[in-house]
Symmetry: C2
Subunit: 187 residues, 2 copies
């Protein structure tokens, strides 16, 4: 399959790095691949910018940074402004439309899911990243939905598995309804 | 400072990968460095072997795997058998002596902390990895204790900060008593 490159970018406290960890773990533990995760932060630790880059491959990874992203999860306007230019034609961008206003002329148009608002409606904004991962599982083949769900369950605190499963499935079902696997639709 | 290479190895469910994430995050978010994390698993997802490799540097990391480890945290006999040979003379190995019986002739002799038993005594075995990180903060300069503690607090579930702080400090104090910073003593 070669190497899949995923960038997740937003601000501190959104679970950006944990999302990257869950994605990489899904690939390496359950899909028998390799993964590398790098993280970088802007000047302010909390509330500042935060980016995680995940590479997933069926062989050991030589260079651990995104060079040509296959998937971008963009969770702040600042991240959008920084990373939306010059994307490969087949790149899949997913945004939270309450946090990011994309350029209407952007090609390919991003997919969108209001994960933060959906998490708030569920009573716990902290699961927004899990909703987002469920969505990604529905609209992308980068890791299997089964592996991603298992990786979520081994990464969240004990006692919260049921709630996080519900969050994952909420995002997954939203993706089945509003996205289309392997295709890019309007955000 | 060049690149510091850390390997954490044990089995699934010990928090190996989360420990790596916390270490890398400590370096990149609070000590203004770069970090890369890779993870690999043995054949069985839970209960099988699990290794995380963390590289910490003051510049972007080109190759994300451990080549010559500075620090090893070894949490199973299998991991010990696999990784104890041919270590650099200045490598620091930390073991849990209830899980690992080191070769008495090994040089440098490992440091040891019964983190799993200490966590059980605290009532929650899940904090063994946090105790271990506290210990590491006391016996090594690879990241600052302050950064590591902050990284722990941003990585554990909300509501458990106090308990995890106590776990971290338990390990840290044990390290001050039984280890010696930058030196290797008998395990």
């Amino acid at each position: 399959m070669g190497t899949k490159e995923i960038r997740i970018s937003g601000f501190g406290g959104q679970g950006v790095v944990l999302s990257g960890l869950i994605l990489g773990q899904a690939a390496s533990i359950y899909d028998n691949g390799f993964s590398a995760l790098t993280q970088s932060y802007g000047p302010e630790a909390r509330g500042g910018s935060c980016t995680a880059e995940v590479l997933i491959s069926d062989e050991p990874i030589g260079y651990p940074y995104v060079q040509s992203p296959h998937i971008l999860i963009i969770l702040s306007q600042e991240a959008y402004n920084k990373y939306s230019d010059g994307l490969p034609a087949d790149a899949l961008m997913v945004i939270d439309p309450d946090l990011v206003k994309p350029n209407p002329s952007q090609k390919p148009a991003p997919l969108s899911i209001p994960a933060t608002r959906m998490a708030r409606d569920m009573g716990r904004t902290v699961v927004a990243n899990i909703i987002m991962l469920g969505f990604l599982a529905a609209v992308s083949d980068v890791v299997s939905a089964e592996a991603l769900k298992k990786s979520v369950l081994t990464s969240v605190p004990k006692g919260t598995e049921e709630f996080n499963t519900k969050a994952f499935e909420t995002g997954y079902n939203y993706g089945l309804e509003h996205g289309s696997k392997g295709k890019v639709t309007h955000g």
